[in-house]
Symmetry: C2
Subunit: 340 residues, 2 copies
């Protein structure tokens, strides 16, 4: 459709062989400075742009990174994508985006699609439904560089970037305890996700470290539907054994909690203290402002892109070794956990 001019046409215009022009444009040492100058200026004049597909076909690489995320772009994934995009653009890489919508089948389809080489590398965060990992295994077996972030699968021996979910959840729970909470509920999404497990473990250990008994009914499994979650939480808040502290393992559950609280007579933080994993920039203008554990989303994105590009550029020097790299989250205390 676009149809600029080709290398051959440019060469004809210059009365040079295509190979010479190619070398000149690629700044080969075999070409004289004089012709290089001529070629480059003519290329600019005629607005020549190398056909990326011919080049990709020839060189067997695309200068493209694919990012697969599991849900609608929320503040966390938006920041990760921004972080990846920043580095990619800087390094002349292109960015493909795919959304699995928490659907394993879509994830498999997309992963299979990428097996054809459209992208040189992949950064992904898996679906909460991802039980079977054979599609991911295949990706890795084929030698396509893959990195996981946030929602990782340890079965695949590659580098993964996460935040310190365990420690953060531990710290968050301890913070609630320090602020006087005696009865803390964890709001979480699933049991399968790596991050859920780690956050649950952090919560569990914090409770146990007080010598308290761990009550399984104090972990509330929520869904992906907001209204349903609000109902669940409201029910929880109206129950006889209602919590005086809540740790929301993802942002949207904190928002659901605000909505649920609105439906009751309870007040944050006097009746209920709330802390949440969250990347929203407006935690500070919620009322009361929300104490958060902020994941270093932008940094995670940056690191993913940096490592992948290094691996692509210098495959011998950089290996995607099987390790989990942890970038710490940051606890920001605000009004929602204040002692009044």
């Amino acid at each position: 459709m676009a149809g600029g001019i080709s290398l051959k046409e440019l060469a004809a215009e210059l009365k040079l062989a295509p190979s010479t022009v190619s070398r000149a444009l690629n700044d080969s040492y075999e070409i004289s400075e004089a012709t290089k100058k001529k070629v480059i200026s003519m290329a600019e004049k005629l607005n020549y742009h190398a056909n990326p597909f011919a080049r990709s076909l020839r060189e067997n690489k695309s200068k493209t990174i694919a990012v697969i995320i599991p849900e609608r772009i929320n503040s966390f994934f938006a920041q990760v994508v921004d972080g990846i995009e920043e580095i990619a653009q800087e390094q002349g890489y292109h960015l493909l985006i795919y959304n699995t919508h928490e659907d394993l089948e879509r994830e498999q389809k997309i992963v299979n699609l990428l097996l054809n080489g459209r992208a040189d590398a992949i950064a992904m965060s898996v679906t909460s439904q991802t039980s079977d990992v054979s599609h991911l295994q295949k990706l890795h077996d084929r030698g396509l560089p893959v990195i996981f972030f946030d929602r990782i699968r340890s079965e695949i021996p590659t580098t993964k970037f996460i935040t310190n979910d365990y420690e953060s959840a531990f710290e968050a729970t301890k913070h609630l305890i320090q602020q006087g909470c005696k009865n803390i509920t964890l709001l979480t999404l699933g049991k399968d996700l790596s991050i859920s497990k780690e956050r649950q473990r952090g919560y569990n250990d914090a409770i146990k470290s007080e010598g308290w008994e761990l009550d399984p009914s104090m972990t509330l499994y929520c869904s992906h539907e907001e209204e349903r979650n609000v109902e669940l939480i409201e029910e929880l808040l109206l129950s006889s054994n209602r919590p005086d502290g809540i740790l929301a393992s993802v942002e949207k559950l904190a928002f659901a909690t605000y909505l649920a609280v609105k439906r009751t007579k309870l007040r944050i933080p006097s009746d209920l203290k709330l802390i949440s994993f969250s990347n929203t920039s407006i935690a500070g203008i919620l009322n009361p402002s929300l104490t958060t554990i902020t994941q270093p989303a932008m940094s995670i994105g940056n690191e993913c892109a940096n490592l992948l590009i290094k691996k692509l550029t210098k495959p011998k020097q950089y290996e995607l070794i099987d390790q989990v790299i942890t970038i710490p989250s940051k606890l920001t205390i605000r009004e929602s956990t204040l002692v009044e």
Copy 2:
């Protein structure tokens, strides 16, 4: 890197000619059902995936749409991208993302990059710095389908999707007036942006429709730096002629207003009523909850993708005619404009 098997190898395995295999996989009418079945099953067995670059080179199309956005992915652009992604994935298209970071030079660079045919079509929202549109003109001249959304440039004769900025700003201002505001300030970003102009016009006309005098000092030009904006707004709120109503033309200026108000003794909505263009899902849990004009971001994304894909699929039937398509925004009244 990835290196699956090629068509030729697949053909060899099947003891068929590559062309036959190609046709079978493309479901050509010339091929018998029997061989089609054989070919397809073998292709699956050997995990054959057509090389996208060879195909793109041959067919001169990439099944790829590029999206260019001007800033970090915020709730509006996230929703637009989600909307585009949804349709693209459904139709087997790939999505490239580029961020110009409000920088004209980057915009030019990216646009020039896309001149080489890497994407079949482009959906974009321009930079607030975009004064010179020659790079956009070139894109269009080359016949590359381009659509603008939200931040459009009317100089380029193509289809643009926006929301009813003028009417919404008018309605929003009228709403403030109905709620008793006598002194309304418009917070805006620039004077160059299409959307800013329209929203300003809507505000102006609403003020004038009351028979009031239009006071230029009641329009506050903000920056892209949050802290600076908070200071500007705080100053405004402490001035002798402070407003009793604010219309924020973009979300982040509403957030800045919340922060500025926090620093004063004023209260929303009793001392100051606030309404904002915004796509945040949490307008309802701000305190007080925020009256918003919600842009149909997801729909805008859907429409962009749909039209582009139609144009690509049936170029004769669908033209990107020079028109502006308006999808209305929705006013949702919440506490921040309540009469107490």
